[in-house]
Symmetry: C2
Subunit: 498 residues, 2 copies
């Protein structure tokens, strides 16, 4: 344990998870580490849930980096501890609480959260709970498989609880690059000009006096399995790579492309995975998560450096990471999400953003978050941070869902997360629509023709043509029909007209 | 004229507007100077319209900085010359063409256009037509009352036509600061850390060989009158200034605030004007347009420096500018819109953005562009560039329009330009809703209570309460009713239920 807690004075702070959890009182605001089910605290939240399940009333506002594992969101949601939650989640129980109206959820751009905290927009942070692989001699914190918002939570919280997780290898030390921008009006340019620039410290500045408790645990990251690469993902990846090849051919992209950002999940993993077999090489990634396909790209020598705020592989991917940590540490930089998702850096680097849509409308607006306009699925995450500032912004989706009963191309999306102004390319397994320089009606024709499923193509064209004779012809809509496809699905279980 | 055309070799390029206009051929893409009715070319477009009105067929794609005056958008639209138009307009005839479907209009973030041009997303630019006060000895161009996209058009166009406008005083020389970022992957940080940093040249780099023709003209900027400061604007301004005072009191804003960005138009002018009477001083502005109230703020010693891409005063304001140009030149910097509207700089400086909404919904989504969801009014302009990256993003609107028949607070906006994720504060004459850290339902209650007109408050509450029992409770909506207020207005001329 000497290697894990290097500051001798901190030995007395080691305590049980129960003792640490007792520090959390009703009404507090707690900020934790964790971005995707990776690097989040586990023992203390489980102990807190336990306390509440035994009868005590504790409700908190919970801030994280992004989604976290079941030991945090799941256990606390089941116990009814989470009164308010931000900025992102993917866990079943917390999602159900949100959609029942029992938990107030703020679905935020992930680059906004650290600013909101630092500017005091969310009030005082009582405790930061941060998973670490070690604490340095000076009492600074070496994070584990994610950085997320830990630096800002540690900076702004009254006190800090550290979970030393011995399942996380000490060899992760050196992979992190922690940089904290000053607040306006004293902020200077973030000095990143290339994805592989290191600009900070390998630890989160903290100091021993701020640490209230240290808990030792060995609970592993509760990572999620990645779906197999299916035919739809493979086709989407194929369309996208062909498009990149064309862009290189006409001179609009360099031969090694530009730094790639790819969203989370099986389709995103497959899209990036498609590059392994492509002719592209000497790639860089400037993204927020590293999934299994990134290891494939690194091992194939295709990716020179991947900058991110989290490593969130499958169970097998986690073993692969741990077994080859010295290798991957040279090819991966983990940054605070304030930097990984920073609009300034994304625009400077000319990122190619690739994110998953839940539905897209004929004019190119994207819904990333809401099922049928009202139920939260996960959240916008970092997709907006990258999309708005990308050199090339791409959204991918299967053309249909629920066995064909949902068309993912609709007349009007039921919730707007990314507007027509920000979406350059839409890809489904049917094909790709390049929307750059196209007016709304031109976009509609491309999206219907190239991306919609043939089953829904005529219905969409019919809507467009009738809308062209309804009101204004700039963005033609029939207002009392625009959301009728969703209403039909709610009422009949299908968007098809029976 | 020696002072206006300082490169001796260029004397032979001087020609009539008709001769210059003859260079523009059918099918060309033309990029012009101009941002608001300020600094746009006038003589050549009028001559081009004339040529077409005499029977010749010419249709072009017209790119500008933003809106321009009647001599460009109006004359060419009336003559049917504009086939495609971007990124912004405010002129009656071009707007009518757009809404009749005769002109394809791409409504873009104003910081996106220069990138689209430079990255080749819009194809070749055949001609740049740029208004100037002078051409330097080296053949570089000194712009007039706006910079807009002129630098990138001059850089990327095959040839350049310069309109020397003798109504624009030579004393404008030195007010401009022209900086051009490199393309990714070679882009470096934009070295602006304060609104008053000058980082470029006082001219647009061009060179004599690229100049195809020079036209001398004295047609003045066709500026628009500003509406009088009415009671609604005064109340909005009052709510906002009280809010700023509170933010300073609790330590979330410095005493001299942070750099202010303010949209275009009478309400925006009034909001900024309210600061003249306030206790705030030593202010900076980092914005895209300078209207009359900025002169008041400068004269009152309240604003130390205003950075912008355009000066667009009223007729009286223009006289005031010309009469005191030496004075204002020390307090104003005109930058390319790629810099004035740059997300990197906006986020670094911590801009306070204040833009005008057409309508806002109960969840904080904003429609800036479309009348009843289908008809284009003007465009998104720079509002998105600033809103998304502001430290504090504000939208203002009157609570009603059309004598009360339109509620500007609706269940769901009929077009989404700024999503719930980006809007922090909404202000109407009724009051102010601070949406920071509020979930959708919390936002709805604040907006209805604080911002909606009393006439519509009960109807909105009724919608919200019924929606809470419809589907998901995260963002409650009744899909077949969400846009019914707009439909009712179309059918009955009022959103009220008769």
């Amino acid at each position: 344990m000497d290697n894990r807690i290097r500051n001798k004075g901190l030995a007395g702070k080691v305590c049980s998870a129960e003792e640490a959890a007792n520090l959390i009182k009703d009404g507090m605001t707690v900020g934790t580490s964790g971005f995707t089910p990776s690097g989040y605290p586990k023992a203390v939240p489980l102990a807190l849930a336990d306390r509440v399940n035994r009868g005590e009333k504790v409700q908190i506002t919970l801030l994280t980096g992004a989604s976290v594992g079941d030991e945090l969101d799941g256990a606390l949601a089941k116990a009814g501890v989470i009164k308010k939650r931000l900025p992102y989640q993917t866990e079943k129980h917390i999602r159900d609480c949100i959609n029942r109206g029992e938990c107030q959820y703020i679905d935020m751009h992930l680059s906004h959260t650290p600013q909101y905290v630092r500017y005091g927009f969310l009030g005082k942070i009582d405790y930061a709970i941060v998973e670490a692989v070690a604490i340095t001699e000076d009492g600074h914190i070496i994070p584990s498989t994610s950085v997320g918002n830990s630096p800002v939570f540690v900076e702004m919280a009254e006190r800090v609880i550290v979970e030393i997780n011995t399942s996380q290898p000490l060899d992760l030390e050196g992979i992190h690059d922690i940089y904290t921008p000053k607040n306006p009006p004293n902020r200077e340019p973030i000095p990143i000009s290339r994805p592989d620039d290191r600009i900070g410290t390998p630890y989160i500045p903290c100091g021993p006096e701020k640490i209230a408790a240290i808990v030792i645990t060995d609970i592993r990251d509760n990572v999620r399995p990645l779906g197999p690469i299916d035919d739809v993902s493979r086709k989407i990846s194929g369309h996208l790579i062909a498009f990149f090849e064309d862009e290189v051919k006409v001179g609009r992209l360099p031969r090694n492309l530009l730094p790639l950002q790819s969203g989370v999940g099986s389709v995103a993993n497959a899209v990036l995975g498609g590059l392994v077999e492509s002719r592209f090489e000497n790639l860089y990634c400037y993204t927020e998560v590293i999934q299994d396909s990134m290891f494939d790209l690194i091992d194939a020598g295709k990716v020179l450096m991947a900058s991110s705020t989290s490593i969130t592989p499958s169970e097998e991917g986690l073993v692969r990471l741990y077994d080859n940590i010295e290798h991957y540490r040279k090819k991966i930089i983990l940054r605070p999400q304030e930097i990984s998702n920073n609009p300034e850096v994304a625009r400077r680097l000319g990122v190619i953003s690739m994110n998953t849509a839940m539905e897209v409308d004929i004019y190119g607006n994207v819904n990333s978050t809401h099922v049928m306009g009202t139920r939260m699925m996960n959240g916008i995450g970092g997709s907006g941070d990258f999309t708005r500032n990308a050199l090339l912004s791409v959204f991918t989706t299967a053309s249909t869902a629920k066995g064909g009963d949902i068309s993912c191309i609709v007349p009007m999306v039921s919730h707007h997360d990314h507007t027509e102004h920000d979406v350059m390319v839409v890809v489904t397994e049917q094909g790709l629509a390049d929307l750059r320089g196209a007016s709304p009606v031109e976009r509609a024709r491309k999206i219907i023709q190239n991306c919609a499923h043939p089953q829904y193509r005529d219905m969409l064209t019919d809507y467009l043509e009738r809308a062209l004779h309804a009101q204004g012809k700039h963005t033609p809509h029939i207002l009392n029909e625009a959301l009728s496809w969703h209403q039909r699905f709610i009422e009949t279980g299908t968007m098809k007209i029976k």
